[in-house]
């Protein structure tokens, strides 16, 4: 066996570090999906009638929709009847962090997400979602002083119904796609953020998602509204226990940016990717979309995707306001048998709108990594600009890197540019590192981080450090 091959094979030696399961007392909905399931969830959350009706309508629509198969993905079909659609820790309604189940606390400690406020990273407020419900939101009161609402979506339904009613489903309509329709019917919890006019959110807001219970799907839903001239930076992290069977994650994220508002949404996705034989792992079918409604608004997506067995995800921007800006920065790493089909949609409808796409795909092992992105310039979108750079790096000769950009241009003042390259880490570049005393593993980590730099630079500092480590771990030993 060649040295290259040995090292390639040792990719798999890196096991998933977040694969523990916590023993938490939970209420879990009966397995299966029917109208009753939808009613059960709604009742459990004590929801108002309008929301139940909205869910039921979504469920009716979902039943009529076919599961999509146009993606460059190959996976065993999901049996929607074998999943439980709701799991929550038994003890609920916390008055303070002290009442939190110590097991839950311990879970988040293991993940390195301290929930106790005094231990928090300076300037990060956390909403922690375990399986179906938000277990705790920190720094709430301090944020409230600025009029910022940061709470679980269930809470917002009761306390800010006018906002939820107005914006829920306004960016991703109920019938948008198969998985978003399912989410509308059975969504459990998630974060809600409202930044009032003129307020610059003083700290990073963060949600940490964790799937814990067995045989459950996670269907969280996040809604962020940035009012005129406001700014918010929001971070999202995800992990799950290691299990043999696949688990479904079908989330929806909606962002709304008003005039001169800016939303920065960063994700570090590290769901369990399955083992080295490709067994288990999360199916990550996520719909993320932001609407730049106001003039001069800006939405920027940054994602570092290292986890999940199958990823299907296209964080998008609808650039409706004149002079609005959409950005998408992505690093997607696939290893072993992982499959990712991810990218973005930039829909230019306002005048002088600009978008920028930077996608860095890294494939190793026997994985398949696809970039799929649409740039559409509508007839009235005078002066639209787009630049896309999509690069793929192949580590090993058993993996695939694919690029599917789509351009639909209907305005003759548009200026759209796309560049894509595919390459591997050259022997000569590795030799250069080694001649300076740097071993192959470190060299690969450095090269990959350098390759992904433009994207990593977009992340807030604490997240960037985390993300770099994650990249190195995901690819350990992947090149000879």
């Amino acid at each position: 066996m060649s040295k290259d091959q040995e090292l390639l094979d040792s990719i798999t030696s890196q096991e998933y570090q977040w694969g523990f399961e916590s023993n938490i007392d939970q209420d879990i909905a009966a397995i299966g999906l029917s109208e009753d399931t939808v009613r059960f969830i709604s009742k459990k959350k004590n929801e108002p009638e309008w929301l139940l009706e909205w869910r039921l309508k979504a469920f009716e629509i979902w039943k009529t929709m076919p599961e999509p198969h146009w993606q460059n993905l190959d996976y065993a079909p999901v049996d929607f009847q074998s999943i439980s659609y709701y799991a929550e820790p038994k003890k609920k309604t916390l008055n303070s962090l002290d009442e939190l189940d110590p097991e839950i606390k311990a879970t988040y400690d293991k993940l390195g997400i301290p929930l106790e406020e005094q231990k928090l990273l300076a300037g990060v407020a956390v909403d922690a979602v375990l399986d179906s419900v938000s277990v705790v939101t920190t720094y709430k009161e301090r944020l409230a002083q600025d009029g910022i609402i940061f709470c679980s979506l269930s809470e917002a339904v009761h306390e800010h119904p006018e906002l939820v009613k107005k914006y829920l489903g306004s960016v991703v309509p109920v019938a948008d796609n198969y998985f978003s329709a399912l989410n509308c019917a059975v969504f459990s919890d998630g974060s809600f953020v409202y930044i009032p006019k003129g307020v610059r959110c003083p700290m990073e807001l963060s949600t940490y998602f964790r799937i814990n219970a067995k045989n459950t799907g996670q269907f969280e839903r996040t809604l962020i509204i940035a009012d005129d001239r406001s700014y918010v930076s929001y971070l999202e992290g995800c992990t799950a226990p290691q299990r043999d069977e696949n688990q479904l994650h079908a989330a929806v994220v909606e962002l709304v940016a008003m005039e001169h508002a800016e939303i920065k949404y960063s994700t570090v996705q590290n769901w369990f990717p399955g083992d080295k034989e490709g067994k288990g792992g999360i199916y990550n079918f996520v719909t993320k979309r932001g609407a730049c409604l106001g003039n001069h608004s800006k939405i920027s997506w940054t994602q570092v995707e290292t986890g999940s067995a199958v990823t299907w995800k296209y964080p998008s921007c609808i650039l409706k306001g004149d002079y609005s800006v959409g950005e998408f920065y992505s690093v997607a790493v696939t290893n072993n048998f992982q499959q990712a089909d991810t990218g973005t949609k930039m829909i230019h409808t306002g005048k002088h709108t600009r978008s920028r796409i930077v996608s860095k795909g890294i494939s190793a092992g026997k994985s398949q990594n696809s970039y799929r992105g649409l740039v559409r310039v509508n007839k009235r979108a005078e002066g639209a600009r787009n630049f896309s750079q999509c690069d793929s790096l192949l580590l090993g000769d058993r993996c695939g890197a694919h690029t599917f950009p789509y351009f639909e241009i209907q305005n003759n003042s548009a200026n759209v540019e796309h560049e894509a390259t595919t390459s591997k880490i050259g022997e000569d570049i590795l030799f250069y590192f080694r001649q300076r005393g740097i071993g192959e593993e470190d060299a690969v980590a450095m090269i990959v981080n350098g390759y992904a730099k433009e994207v990593l630079d977009q992340l807030p500092m604490e997240f960037a450090v985390e993300a770099k480590k994650l990249l190195a771990i995901s690819l350990e030993g992947s090149v000879g």
Binding site: E427, F431, Q435, K453
Partner: protein, 252 residues
């Protein structure tokens, strides 16, 4: 410090080095000259451990270690430095991070602690000044978008940072204008001491005006065919390589 005994090496089945013998002692500067295709760059690649080259016969001893057994990075950590003829561009990796990692690897190998951030920065600034590189260069990606001269200066900067025992300069003069050549040579001369050694590989004599060799070898058809002092280099400058080729054609 370095002993090469009867070294034979080939690439893709084609023999390039056909029995090299060479001994370099601490405190000396050796030059290897030779016409194009004589095997000069192959020799430096084989010493540094490039895997495309297969050593079919012979030994290379470096400070008592048979380095043919070692990986390229292990040779580097032992104190072997190669200044590349064509330095590689590494987008996204800053010079500072790159050299910090390299320095710490070498220190770890010597059983030393990593340098503190302040000490490291101080050292970098000092060495960068030595080869005339400005501060902002440390933040830029390794060699990416560098001019030919900047790349070569960066090689000497790295040499200064790593403080190796034996430095091989592979055609460091190619692509340099006279000012850059002088800066690079001054850098090398400042680093020269009784503990280290240099092997300067070059086609032309002009670099040797600035880095004066103690011993000059002529490589032709994979063998060292002439050895002399610095006057040998001057003779080559004056008369070219034709006489060497003529004299040794029969043996080839």
């Amino acid at each position: 410090m370095l002993q090469i005994k009867n070294l034979h090496a080939q690439i893709e089945g084609k023999p390039i080095l056909k029995g090299i013998n060479l001994e370099i002692n601490a405190g000396t500067v050796h030059a290897i000259m030779g016409p194009n295709g004589s095997g000069k760059s192959t020799l430096s690649s084989v010493i540094a451990g490039r895997e495309e080259y297969e050593v079919t016969e012979g030994e290379i001893w470096f400070n008592g270690v048979n380095i043919l057994e070692l990986e390229p990075e292990e040779r580097a950590r032992e104190g072997l430095f190669l200044a590349f003829q064509y330095p590689i561009e590494i987008p996204g990796v800053s010079n500072a991070n790159f050299i910090k990692m390299a320095v710490n690897e070498v220190r770890k190998h010597k059983g030393l602690e990593s340098l503190s951030a302040t000490d490291f920065l101080k050292l970098m600034r000092e060495k960068a000044a030595l080869v005339g590189l400005k501060d902002d260069f440390l933040k830029r990606s390794v060699n990416a978008g560098f001019s030919g001269g900047e790349k070569k200066r960066n090689e000497i900067f790295q040499l200064a940072m790593l403080d190796p025992k034996l430095s091989i300069l592979d055609e460091t003069d190619s692509g340099l204008d006279i000012d850059a050549l002088r800066t690079v040579a001054e850098g090398v001369n400042a680093l020269k001491n009784s503990e280290n050694a240099f092997l300067v590989i070059t086609h032309y004599q002009r670099l040797l005006d600035y880095i004066v060799p103690d011993v000059v070898h002529v490589l032709y058809d994979g063998r060292i065919v002439e050895t002399g002092d610095k006057d040998l280099a001057l003779k080559l400058e004056d008369q070219g390589y034709d006489w060497v080729i003529e004299k040794h054609k029969q043996e080839a």
